[in-house]
């Protein structure tokens, strides 16, 4: 009985969009490489701007003008502003490009999630992906993304709104169990942070 419970499979149909792919790509990238997160990059730019601004007195003494220190400080402050404003657009760009380049990704698919693998079927293909292939699984408020697969497709995405009622919690339990410490839940602030 316990074995049957452990081997329970979740079956559902979904159609992925570019927005899903961008969101999953960004979530996976920022989880795997924390230095690529928006606030880390903004802080790096502001730190460099502050350091440059701290050289203004030295610049005044040496060159009798603040411009050599002021200009880089202003440029870095502007860069920080730009990163803050456009990070969401740029960060998922690579995943979005991959989605547009592969028409197979936009086809409706039937997914079966199991304890050790996922089976994905679409009109033209059927593939079996084992969880051990992926170094990381990220859960955002809208989806689950197994990321970093080196063979075949790098991202395996499960949209929560495609899962039948109650199965989102079941899928979370299943993936958290399969990935163990490689499972990561992000976006505590909810829709606002991840769905732009």
């Amino acid at each position: 009985m316990a074995e049957r419970e452990r081997d329970r499979k979740i079956e559902f149909a979904q159609t992925l969009t570019e927005r899903d792919y961008r969101e999953a790509g960004r979530a996976a990238e920022e989880t795997a490489h924390p230095s690529r997160r928006r606030w880390v990059r903004v802080c790096a730019c502001l730190t460099a701007a502050g350091f440059s601004a701290s050289l203004i007195p030295a610049s005044l003494r040496a060159f009798r003008t603040a411009l050599p220190a002021l200009l880089p400080a202003a440029a870095l402050a502007l860069l920080a502003l730009g990163v803050w404003a456009f990070h969401a657009e740029i960060a998922g760009g690579r995943a979005g490009r991959r989605f547009r380049a592969c028409p197979l990704l936009a086809l409706p698919q039937r997914v079966t999630l199991g304890r050790d693998r996922a089976v994905i079927r679409s009109e033209y293909e059927k593939s079996v992906r084992y969880w051990t292939e992926f170094p990381l699984c990220v859960e955002t408020p809208r989806l689950f993304a197994a990321a970093g697969g080196q063979w075949g497709r790098a991202l395996l995405i499960v949209r929560k709104d495609s899962l039948p009622g109650g199965d989102a919690a079941e899928a979370e339990k299943l993936l958290a169990g399969a990935f163990g410490r490689r499972y990561c839940k992000i976006g505590k602030r909810g829709e606002r942070r991840w769905n732009r």
């Binding site: 991959r98 593939s127 063979w151 497709r153």
Partner: protein
């Protein structure tokens, strides 16, 4: 028309060839030519320093170093890194199952291995690329499957090429077709 069926076991050498073909596809001839042209320009600048008795000796030396690097060292260095990475990835099993079958049908190309089955219409392939050792079939920007040409005899190769040329048009690139840019 009879389909062309190719069955093969993927080896480390095939993995290296696949990566080389992917790199050639991602970095087309004009880019490689530009790096070489820039290297030649740097060398000319370096030669101009003693020729016209210009005072920029250190600048000339730097230009000479950049020129030699771009013209003679960049490509062999990238190739060595690529070969090493491919061999490591093959050893780690990142090239998927070894035994694969690819069939070129009149309307689609069929892939079959222990974890993937696909019958992809030619129009849905992102690109196809062929050099003297490998035929690369790309389902997406970074998702490619390689067919080692040693697994096909001359007749099969001609028929597969004819099918790809006819069905994919400009999306099928052959390295020999742009020999002048190499």
């Amino acid at each position: 028309m009879e389909p062309v069926t190719v069955s093969f076991a993927f080896t480390e050498e095939d993995a290296v060839r696949q990566r080389e073909a992917q790199a050639a596809l991602a970095l087309p001839g004009p880019y490689r030519f530009s790096a070489a042209a820039l290297g030649a320009l740097f060398l000319l600048l370096a030669a101009a320093v003693p020729a016209f008795r210009l005072p920029y000796r250190w600048g000339g030396a730097m230009a000479a170093a950049c020129g030699v690097f771009l013209l003679f060292l960049l490509r062999p260095m990238l190739r060595a890194m690529l070969r090493r990475g491919a061999a490591e990835d093959f050893a780690a099993g990142r090239f998927g199952p070894a035994a694969q079958t690819v069939r070129f049908l009149p309307d689609a190309v069929e892939f079959r291995d222990e974890r993937y089955e696909g019958r992809i219409p030619y129009g849905m392939l992102h690109a196809a690329y062929e050099d003297e050792k490998t035929l690369l079939l790309c389902l997406g920007e970074s998702e490619c499957r390689a067919v080692p040409l040693r697994a096909m005899d001359g007749e099969d190769r001609r028929r597969a090429e004819a099918l790809l040329k006819d069905r994919m048009g400009r999306k099928f690139l052959q390295e020999g077709a742009r020999e002048w840019t190499k």
